[in-house]
């Protein structure tokens, strides 16, 4: 069921949500978190669709927040949607006038009681998410450096303001690479003496990978210039040979460790919904990420 409200208030939106829920036939709500999606007119459709997919794994109340024109009278327009092929419920809030600076006052009464709040900026992430009006309401703040014009600068800027609970999706994109590299070292013994990562300059995932490898292995990792969109090659030097992971195509890589025959492993891009689902599985602080960004800035 969908209810459209114009020039409205948080209390009216909350009433509409109860009404829609009862109309959908289920007054019970086993939702596990509130997801705040802070976005603009251009990306709002795609972002809410992603959030709805995510709801299948983490049933949530999704609040889409579009900050409009700051001029004119304060105004809240809302669209409440319950059911319709998604677990959980979603509200699209369009704010304009001075409210653009006080969005938190509209959002606060709409949070699910006593459960985690996650804020996600699909683009134009604030550099200091934990000091953002909406970000302050959330335990987990997800930014996305890749969506900005200068990803590495954006990554470093948010890293400078890191507090527990912040994650840039660049880190989530790195997980499959980290898993493969960890598996490679599971299969070899001895110390890593050095290594290199090959990528096209400006790739934030690769930058973060180097920081992670250096902070874990405590050896310098060199950058090599590549020409592919994705990381094209990672080499770790060891006493008995090299661990090499080299890209074949967009979805797979060659994998070779000293002492066994090389083989192919799948290593592709994941969808935004998959990235967010991974992030929401854990709501506590990610200490390894903290150590990695600390190394990135060092």
């Amino acid at each position: 069921m969908e209810i459209t409200l114009e020039k409205t208030t948080s209390a009216a939106i909350a009433r509409a949500m109860v009404k829609a829920r009862i109309a959908a036939g289920s007054p019970a709500m086993d939702m596990v978190l509130t997801a705040l999606v802070i976005t603009d007119n251009e990306t709002v459709g795609e972002a809410l669709k992603t959030a709805a997919t995510l709801s299948r794994e983490h049933p949530s109340r999704v609040l889409g927040i579009v900050l409009g024109d700051g001029r004119g009278a304060p105004r809240v327009n809302a669209k409440v949607r319950v059911g319709e092929n998604s677990a959980g419920e979603s509200v699209l809030l369009r704010l304009s006038g001075p409210l653009v600076k006080h969005a938190d006052s509209v959002v606060l009464p709409l949070l699910l009681p006593d459960s985690p709040v996650v804020a996600w900026w699909p683009r134009n992430s604030p550099t200091n998410p934990s000091d953002d009006a909406i970000g302050r309401l959330a335990q987990r703040r997800l930014t996305d450096a890749e969506s900005s014009n200068s990803p590495i600068r954006a990554l470093k800027a948010t890293a400078r303001h890191y507090v527990p609970g912040d994650t840039d999706l660049t880190w989530t994109r790195l997980t499959p690479w980290r898993a493969v590299l960890a598996a490679a070292l599971d299969q070899s013994s001895g110390k890593v003496t050095g290594g290199s990562v090959e990528f096209r300059p400006g790739n934030p995932v690769a930058t973060l990978l180097i920081a992670w490898l250096e902070s874990r292995l405590r050896v310098p990792i060199t950058q090599r210039r590549g020409d592919k969109d994705q990381i094209s090659k990672v080499v770790l030097h060891m006493a008995d040979g090299d661990v090499t992971i080299e890209r074949i195509d967009e979805t797979s890589c060659h994998f070779s460790v000293p002492g066994s025959a090389p083989r192919e492993v799948p290593l592709g891009r994941r969808t935004l919904a998959e990235l967010l689902a991974e992030d929401l599985r854990r709501l506590d602080a990610d200490n390894i990420y903290a150590a990695t960004v600390k190394h990135l800035l060092a």
Partner: protein, 507 residues
């Protein structure tokens, strides 16, 4: 290499999946139903979720003489049909590189030499490093020959890697046969290398019983005989025996389900808090319960067994057990079994555990219902609470996984009228995609060598000690009770629980 020595791994890094070390899974009975429908799809799903090591190998051993290509396409078909996760050609390409087939009879020494050579080749080419798990997806009668051949050809031990053996239920058909089986397997593999699969224990909802009981503060104080009236554990199936006649007849519902699944569930519900979640600590607590659990003293009053007869089940006309294909007309095998178990501990003295299972019952459901005592005093008139039953906490294991709490609430209106209502939590809604198939979890645990979810010899033997007297009592009876297909079991089961002044829940 252990987790501690890999600098890229860290206990705090919980994004990195638990990936098994390099190893192979060697499947005996690879052409069987279980392998095709469950094991191969589970292996593909694990690979797709990135949980298998690069270079993981899958070896099939079977009588048929497949060519390698033919065997690979057989595996591909099974994986494609049964997989829970989307099909990805890249994942398959990774998996197929490690697939091998060894044809041969179990008594043919040459075949075992070929298997040994294949394992050696995998160690060299795929880097499995001598780590191999043998999965015996074959009838228990064949265990002795397979296990002794493994030993004879030196495949059961290794200098550099690990060897593990996985066996499926039934773990014998009574205490004596279970002991024999344990001796055969135990004579070749040490206890910590034997993994008995009870796929129920791999279910997320079963593991959640532990989380529910021991992570929450509010349930523990009432989890005892002071507040709990009784417990009902039900595993009902709406289907008949289908094509399993050969296996089922002579085994029956009690051996098939109560001995393993239901007694394990009972142990998880009843056990004291383990000091840690290590396999050994969990096992100690489960064993204490099983060692002190006994069927109610009057077996004629507190057990029931029956066979289904023809009837209408869920809108379909179905035949009775004796008319099923391959069942002798004189069969006395029960398709429904119910027993009352008493647990002699301070926590549970006086709290009966009613266990029931059956085929062709009202619907497919597995659940554990903890039914609480009534409030000692109610300040309402008798009429106000006429419709109020006992409070109950129900763990729904399958389908529709979740937890239900039943309690009384006032019916809206001007009179004080109190009635039972249900409060539901559904895992189905809350954690859909992350709920893996039980076999995935169990196969991964075997490869990781993580044993908490696998029962060991002692638990199996204790469970038979509980059940043997009941089965013996039933075997002395000339006739067997019946129930109409599609109903909730025989009248004798209702009488059995009514003797204690209670009634079965309609699950």
């Amino acid at each position: 290499m252990s987790l501690g020595s890999n600098p890229l791994r860290d206990a705090q890094d919980r994004r990195l999946p638990r990936i098994a070390g390099p190893c192979s899974l060697i499947l005996f009975g690879v052409t069987g139903d279980l392998a095709r429908k469950k094991l191969i799809p589970a292996v593909y799903d694990l690979a797709n979720r990135g949980l298998l090591p690069p270079g993981f190998a899958l070896v099939g051993f079977a009588r048929q003489d497949f060519g390698h290509q033919e065997f690979k396409s057989l595996i591909k078909k099974a994986a494609k049909e049964g997989a829970r996760t989307p099909w990805r050609e890249t994942v398959w390409k990774q998996l197929v590189a490690g697939i091998r087939f060894v044809p041969g009879e179990f008594d043919d020494d040459a075949a075992w030499e070929r298997l040994g050579a294949t394992m050696h080749e995998l160690d060299e080419q795929q880097g499995t490093n001598g780590n191999h798990a043998f999965y015996l997806s074959i009838p228990p009668a064949l265990f002795p020959v397979v296990v002794s051949q493994l030993k004879k050809h030196g495949l059961a031990t290794s200098d550099n890697g690990w060897r593990r053996v996985v066996i499926e239920k039934p773990f014998g058909h009574d205490l004596t046969s279970a002991r024999e089986l344990n001796e055969i397997v135990g004579g070749v593999f040490p206890p910590e290398s034997v993994f008995r699969i009870d796929h129920y224990l791999g279910k997320e909802t079963v593991q959640n019983i532990l989380a529910f009981r021991f992570a929450n503060g509010m349930f523990e104080p009432i989890w005892n005989g002071n507040y709990v009236d009784h417990v009902q554990i039900t595993m009902a199936e709406d289907i008949g025996i289908g094509t399993r006649a050969g296996y089922y007849d002579g085994i029956g519902a009690a051996r098939d389900v109560i001995q393993n699944h239901l007694l394990q569930l009972m142990a998880l519900i009843a056990m004291e808090e383990p000091v840690s979640f290590k396999a050994s600590s969990l096992r100690i607590e489960k064993q204490k319960i099983l060692a002190n659990a006994r069927p109610a003293p009057r077996l004629d009053f507190h057990t029931a067994h029956a066979q289904y007869v023809a009837g209408w089940a869920g809108g379909e006309k179905v035949v009775g057990y004796l008319e099923e294909q391959g069942i002798p007309k004189s069969s006395n095998t029960e398709t429904y079994a119910a027993v009352r178990i008493d647990i002699a501990t301070r926590r549970w003295a006086g709290v009966p555990f009613y266990l029931r299972t059956g085929k062709r019952l009202g619907r497919r459901v597995t659940e554990v219902a903890v039914v609480f005592k009534r409030a000692p005093h109610q300040p309402f008139s008798k009429h106000d609470v006429e419709e109020l039953g006992k409070n109950a906490l129900v763990m729904r294991i399958q389908p529709d996984e979740g937890v239900t709490l039943r309690f009384g609430a006032k019916v809206p209106g001007t009179t004080m009228e109190i009635r039972d209502v249900l409060m539901d939590f559904a895992y189905g809604g809350a954690f859909v995609e992350s709920s893996p198939e039980a076999y995935e979890r169990l196969i991964l645990d075997v490869l990781l060598g993580d044993p908490p979810l696998f029962p060991q010899t002692e638990e199996v033997e204790l469970a038979w000690e509980i059940l043997d007297p009941v089965i013996e009592h039933w075997s002395r009876q000339k006739t067997i009770d019946t129930y109409t297909s599609g109903t909730w079991g025989p009248a004798s089961a209702d009488e059995m629980i009514a003797r204690d002044g209670r009634a079965w829940r309609r699950p």
